[in-house]
């Protein structure tokens, strides 16, 4: 199979290479994303998150004959049904199962991408990404830099479901995003909803850098939203203010935003006006949007599921402290997972729940 993949890659590489934005500048990406605002107005069906991901993968494979989708059980639709029907549609040479070997999957993806293809690799759970850690950190992220820009694996996108599901236990619940946020050369993207997921996944796949795309598995079936049927992208490294307020800024990503939103609603009942920001891209992250908001509110709270120590919240906290020290009215609050392994029966204690966030909001506002 590998041989035929290569041959197919060769065939299409010549024909369509110039059309694709495989360079360090993002001009093609930007022009596409600027049209997304018009697309948003168009109506689409109400679908859940895994269907939105499925749509994005469909479009990615349809619009680029050099795109490939692979991973454990992917050709049967994947354990979360994200790739349902894609093998039938695009054939087993472009959508295929791999053996059960994460290091092999990512390494293979890097090689495939280095030949100018778009390799969309799936790691079945983010908890299983660690066997591939070496390939991601040492091979993928530094390929462009260490070869003096002769080679790159910008076409590589690693999709992987992360986070709690209510009963996942130790190895189906972790949020390992911060491990990858210390690796220059990678991008880390996490969507909060079906519509976001589709736009961000397409942008990630077409981004000329290797991207790790964490999908909030709790939301796969839980959240439904109207999703445009068209091909659209949201820009990476651009945060979004999803709720405007004046007393405190809350920053989060992925499924945690839904929890934070509830805390904002409850805080409002007590007269506290919260501004909520979806960071969307963790590296390189949109400091300006967060900074502008904190300059307005004077307070910041960061929340994520990963353990608090060394989590990405620490980086946000430090950066904002550097930029807004004189404007801060209170220490930056972090409401995160506890510094324990992800527990089995004590998941509710571990999680940064609505009430914990609400308490932290009040403590920060009344500091």
């Amino acid at each position: 199979m590998a041989k035929s993949v290569k041959e197919l890659g060769k065939k299409w590489m010549i024909s369509s290479f110039n059309k694709r934005g495989f360079s360090t500048d993002c001009s093609t990406l930007k022009s596409s994303s600027s049209s997304s605002s018009t697309v948003e107005k168009q109506s689409g069906k109400t679908v859940n998150l895994f269907t939105a991901i499925n749509q994005a993968l469909y479009i990615a494979l349809e619009t680029d004959p050099n795109a490939y989708l692979f991973g454990e059980d992917v050709s049967f639709g994947g354990v979360f049904r994200c790739s349902t029907g894609l093998a039938d549609q695009f054939g087993s040479k472009r959508v295929f199962n791999t053996p059960l070997c994460e290091q092999g999957i990512v390494g293979f993806g890097i090689g495939l991408a280095a030949m100018g293809n778009r390799a969309i690799a799936e790691i079945q759970f983010a908890d299983y990404i660690f066997p591939a850690f070496d390939q991601i950190v040492n091979e993928a992220a530094k390929f462009r830099y260490r070869s003096g820009n002769q080679f790159n694996c910008g076409g590589l996108t690693i999709r992987t479901p992360y986070g709690a599901v209510g009963h996942g236990g130790h190895y189906h619940s972790q949020s390992p995003e911060s491990f990858f946020c210390q690796v220059p050369g990678l991008k880390v993207v996490i969507p909060r909803s079906p519509k976001q997921a589709k736009g961000l996944l397409l942008a990630s796949i077409r981004d000329p850098n290797p991207v790790i795309f964490f999908e909030p598995k709790w939301l796969y079936r839980l959240v439904v939203e109207e999703v445009p049927e068209d091909d659209y992208m949201f820009p990476l490294s651009e945060a979004e203010v999803i709720r405007h307020g004046s007393d405190i800024t809350l920053v989060g990503w992925g499924s945690q935003l839904a929890v934070m939103e509830q805390a904002c609603v409850d805080a409002e009942k007590e007269g506290i006006s919260c501004e909520l920001i979806d960071l969307k891209t963790l590296i390189p992250w949109d400091k300006e949007t967060v900074e502008a908001s904190v300059r307005k509110t004077g307070r910041l709270l960061v929340s994520h599921e990963a353990p608090v120590t060394g989590g990405f919240g620490a980086e946000i906290s430090a950066s904002i402290m550097e930029r807004c020290f004189m404007r801060l009215e209170a220490p930056v609050a972090r409401t995160c997972g506890l510094d324990t392994p992800f527990p089995l029966v004590f998941e509710p204690f571990f999680m940064p729940t609505k009430n914990k966030i609400l308490d932290a909001i009040k403590a920060t506002v009344n500091y």
Binding site: L100, L344, V345
Partner: protein
Amino acid sequence: MMNLTKLISSASSSSAASRSKTLISSSSSFLNRSFSTDDSKVLTIETSIPFTAHNCEPPSRTVETTEKELLGFFKEMALMRRMEIAADSLYKSKLIRGFCHLYDGQEAVAVGMEAAITKKDCIITAYRDHCIFLGRGGTLVEAFSELMGRRDGCSKGKGGSMHFYKKDSGFYGGHGIVGAQVPLGIGLSFAQKYNKDEAVTFAMYGDGAANQGQLFEALNIAALWDLPAILVCENNHYGMGTAEWRAAKSPAYYKRGDYVPGLKVDGMDAFAVKQACKFAKEHVLQKGPIILEMDTYRYHGHSMSDPGSTYRTRDEISGVRQERDPVERIRKLVLAHDLATEKELKDMEKEIRKEVDDAIAQAKESPMPEPSELFTNVYVKGFGVESYGADRKEVRAVLP
């Protein structure tokens, strides 16, 4: 020779808990029933098919056993089967959370392996670990308590389905990441060799894990230093939803060690497994590692969230059930040797069902772990970092 009485009495002495008393009394009374079993009478049984060997002389197809062992095999395997079916319904009624991988169909591997080894030998496996735990002498109450995250569980309710352990009988447990337990097993076998224990380690993995790179790293180390490690590939033919031939260039897993000898075994035949494990133990103590490929089958899906019917046909599953089922195979042998009547075996299964139900009832009575357990065992108390504060989000280093 291991038999059920020993199995259960060793479990009770080790767990030292009164909770297993009911279990013992019910099963010992059951063993006292007048089956005409004779411990001294040796039976010879032919394995279903010959062994296929790679770089070694295969053992004989003729296996020696006793009446007691044969009947014990039936009882143990029926118990394992019933436990897994009960776990299935507990999961569906949401009493078991986390991910749950069932062993039904593969029981002959757990039972046959135990029959050939002692508790000084180590076993380490992946997440399909319930029956291995039972085989090592774990009790039903410990198993069900752990499944439901209760205090009486074998990992104090902190591990769940994938993380069963039993240190006192050399069960190094249940590991969550595919293939990761095999290098650990090689480490165990090094310690055994270094300490001159004359014991061996069985490192178990599935056909899916057989394609993990770390497996080959571990195999090379084991062969390089002639470690007493037996790599047991439980080939149930599907790595999650992917058939072996889709994932492996060579699905002859017993040959994949190249320079390491291997043996292909009918993993649905408990006596073939026993013979192979006995052979392997002798082999590795003298000559270094060996691979045993157990040709077996899981009736359930990969985990409870996999219906197990999208990537294989129902006919295939029912075909295996009819022709190769490990419990039925033993049932036929018991009947053929006139050790019990069909009705007596049915009654035995009824008692097993009751035993399992009683254990579940008892496990349900077991309380959840103390909330403070969330923070224990992260580090050794007093020797490093501990959590403080109302929501324990503050971490401080504490010097001893």
